[in-house]
Symmetry: C2
Subunit: 400 residues, 2 copies
C-alpha cells in the first residue's frame, strides 16, 4: 500500500472546496473556465509541482501532474455543475494528488490529472473527449454554452498558462475515484463499489401529432389528442420492458411539451424525451426495438402520427478486467465484505480515457444518493477508506 496521509488528503479536499464555496452545506459553484475554476486549477498546478511532478495545463484547461517515465494516471475533474457539491470530481483529483505524493515518497511513479469541463458547460466530458480523440479541437471550439459563449472564447482565458497535451503513451492505465451519486452503497452500508463499466445511454425526442381543436366543441370520439400518444406509449413500454430490463436498467421521460399548451385547446402535438441507460449494449438494442415498436403501436392505437429525432447513442464502456480485479482485492483487504461490483449509471472521464489505455473506477457512497446539489456529501471515514483502497490497488498495479 502506498503511504498515503489521510489528514493531508482531507485538508486538501477542504482547501479546494474554498474555490467557489457557496450555498448551504458544502456547496460549490465552479463551472468550467469561470474565475473560481481557473483559480482552483492554478492552485492545483502548484500542488503538483510541490510534490515533484511536472505540472502542466494543456490547451483545453486540463491540469496534469506528470511523473517521469511510465506511470499510472490517477484523477478526475474539478469543474462543477452550476450548483454542485464539494466532492463530485474533486474527490478523484485529490485522490490523484495524494497518491502521486505518496508515490513520489515511495518511489512509485504516479501521475495526477484534473480534466476540464466534465460537467458539460460546452459538451459532456469535453476535456477528456478532446484528449481521447473523440472530438477535434477545431470542432470543440465551435461548441457554445447556454449563454452563447464559445469553447474557443472560454479556453482563450487560460491561453497564457497553457502548454502542450501530454502523450497518452506515457501512462500505463487510468484510475478514477468518484462519489457514487446514487443510493446503492449508502443504503447497504457498504464502503466502496468496484465499477464494472460505464453504462451506455440512448436518448431521443418523440413527437406525436394529431389535430389541434376546441376543447369545448370537439367531441371525445372525434378528437386526435396528441397527449393520448404519450399515455399509450408509456403504458406499452412499462408492460413490454418487464422481461427485458434488470435492476440497474433505467429509463426516463424528463421533458414533455404539448402544443399549443392551453387549458381550452385539445393539443395537436406532444413532444417528449425518452432516455434509457444500461451497461449491456444488447439490452440497449432490445429496448430500442421495443421503444420504436411502441411508438408505432401507440400512434396506430390513437390515430396519431409519430416521428422521432436523431438518437444520441453512447455505447457502454467496460472497465479493464485486470484493474477491476486489483481494485476488488484492495477493497477486500481494506473493507472486507463491505464492497460490491456495480455499473456506473452516470458518465465519467474514465469513459473517454478507456479509449486510450486500461481504465478503472472506484465508487464511494453518497449520503442519501444526492449529487449535483449543494447537499451532496459523503462520510469522511468513507472518503479515507476509498483513498486506502486506491493506495492498495495502485501499489499492486505499479508492481506488475
Amino acid at each position: 500500500m502506498l503511504p498515503v496521509n489521510p489528514d493531508r488528503f482531507l485538508a486538501d479536499l477542504h482547501r479546494l472546496r474554498e474555490f467557489g464555496a457557496a450555498g448551504v452545506g458544502r456547496g460549490v459553484v465552479r463551472p468550467a473556465f469561470t474565475d473560481p475554476d481557473i483559480a482552483a486549477r492554478r492552485w492545483l498546478r502548484e500542488q503538483f509541482a510541490a510534490c515533484g511532478l511536472e505540472a502542466r495545463i494543456d490547451p483545453v484547461g486540463t491540469v496534469w501532474g506528470l511523473a517521469e517515465g511510465q506511470s499510472l494516471l490517477v484523477g478526475s475533474h474539478t469543474d462543477t455543475q452550476p450548483e454542485g457539491g464539494w466532492l463530485d470530481g474533486t474527490l478523484g483529483v485529490i485522490c490523484g494528488l495524494e497518491l502521486a505524493r505518496a508515490g513520489a515518497e515511495a518511489g512509485i511513479p504516479i501521475s495526477a490529472v484534473s480534466f476540464e469541463d466534465e460537467e458539460g458547460r460546452f459538451g459532456v466530458t469535453t476535456g477528456s473527449r478532446v484528449w481521447g480523440g473523440f472530438t477535434s479541437l477545431a470542432a470543440a471550439d465551435r461548441l457554445t454554452d447556454t449563454q452563447g459563449v464559445t469553447y474557443a472564447e472560454a479556453r482563450a482565458r487560460i491561453a497564457d498558462i497553457a502548454g502542450e497535451f501530454p502523450d497518452p503513451g506515457r501512462f500505463r492505465g487510468f484510475l478514477e475515484c468518484h462519489i457514487e451519486q446514487g443510493p446503492w452503497l449508502d443504503q447497504a452500508g457498504e464502503a466502496a463499489g468496484v465499477v464494472t463499466g460505464i453504462v451506455g445511454i440512448r436518448d431521443m425526442r418523440v413527437t406525436f401529432t394529431g389535430e389541434q381543436n376546441h376543447a369545448g366543441t370537439t367531441p371525445m370520439h372525434l378528437r386526435r389528442d396528441a397527449l393520448k400518444g404519450l399515455l399509450r406509449f408509456q403504458h406499452l413500454i412499462a408492460d413490454r420492458f418487464r422481461n427485458v430490463v434488470v435492476g440497474e436498467t433505467v429509463w426516463t421521460t424528463g421533458h414533455v411539451e404539448l402544443h399549443p399548451g392551453s387549458h381550452s385547446i385539445v393539443p395537436g402535438r406532444c413532444t417528449f424525451s425518452m432516455q434509457w441507460r444500461d451497461g449491456d449494449k444488447q439490452r440497449l438494442d432490445r429496448m430500442e426495438e421495443i421503444i420504436r415498436q411502441a411508438i408505432e403501436d401507440a400512434a396506430a392505437d390513437t390515430g396519431l402520427t409519430a416521428e422521432t429525432s436523431d438518437m444520441l447513442g453512447l455505447d457502454p464502456v467496460p472497465m479493464d478486467e485486470g484493474m477491476q480485479q486489483a481494485l476488488a482485492r484492495a477493497a477486500q483487504a481494506v473493507a472486507p465484505g463491505r464492497w460490491r461490483r456495480m455499473p456506473s449509471g452516470a458518465l465519467h472521464d474514465a469513459a473517454s480515457v478507456a479509449a486510450l489505455m486500461p481504465a478503472a473506477m472506484l465508487f464511494v457512497p453518497s449520503i442519501n444518493g444526492i449529487s449535483h446539489a449543494f447537499e451532496e456529501d459523503t462520510d469522511e471515514a468513507d472518503l479515507v477508506t476509498g483513498l486506502q483502497i486506491l493506495a492498495h490497488a495502485a501499489a499492486e498495479m505499479a508492481a506488475r
Copy 2:
C-alpha cells in the same frame, strides 16, 4: 316571417369581413379594441343608424342599435381571436342587423347588438359580463391582456365615442345566432341546431410532486417520478368516467409541464391542466368527485404528493324554454327534419345575457367543425337558412 333580404345580409357579412381580413381562406384578425375592431364598430354604428335605430357605443365598446319601446334583442360579437374566422360572432351580429332592418320595415321592434371582447383579450365575454352584472367596471379595468395592456387603457381608446349602457329592462329577450364550431351538424348534413343550454366548465391545475433526481444513477424502484402521477391519473379517470359521461361530455388536458424539464433528470414536479364541460351540473359534480379521488389515488399509488389549484367553475346556463320552442317550430318550418336540439360546448354572450332576460341560441353548421382558425367557414346556403329560421322565430316571439 320577417321580410329579411338574404342578398343584403350576405353582402354585409362580406363587408364586415374586410375589417382585419387576413390569412388564407376568409381569415380575419380583429381582436377587441384593435384598430380594425374599432373601425368595424364605427361602420356597424352607421348601419344601425341607417335603418332607423338609435345607434350607440357603450363604455366598454359594445355597439347597440336600439329600437323604440320594448324590443327583442338580436346579436353576438364582432371581435375575433388573434387569428380568427369570418363568421364567429360576426354572423350573429349581421343577423341582428338584418332582423332589425326587416323589423323596421315590418313595424316589429328588433334591437341589435355587437358585444365587445367576447373572445377574451381581457377576460371571457367581458363586454356582456360587465353589462350582465357579473363583473364591475372597476374590477374589469384592472384586467390585463398578455402584453400587460389594461382593460382601462384599451377602452380609453373609444372614450370619445362612448355613451351610456342601455337599460336591460327595455329588451323582452335575447336571440343569438352562432356557428356551431363543432362537427355535429356538418357531419349529419343538418342545417341548424336549437341550443338547449350552454355547458358548464370546470378547470383546475393539478400538481404532483416527487423527487428530482439523476436519470442515470437513480434506480427505478427508488424513484418518485412526478410524471407517473399524470400517467396514473389519466388512466384512472379514463376508467372511472365510463359510466358517468354522455356523448356531449368532454374533458381535456391541454397543458403539461415537467420540472426541471431535462432529458437527464427524473422530474420532481408535474403540473397539468384538467378541464371538463357538460350541460348538467350534477354530472359536473360527479366528475369532480371522480377527478379529486383519482388525484388522491394516483398520488398514493405512485408515492407522490398532490395539490390542486383553485377551480374555475362556470355553471351550465339553460336556454329559455319558450324561446327554444319558437326556434324549434321555425326550424321545422324552414328546414323540416334537418335540425336538432343540442348543447353548446363553447361559451357565448348569451350565457351572460341570460342573467338579465330570456335568452336563446341557434347554431348553423361549421364545415369540418373548424373554428378559431382562418379556415373556418359555413356554406352560404346554410347561413341564409339560419337567417330565415331566426326571421320566423323573431316574428313569433314579437307576436306573443
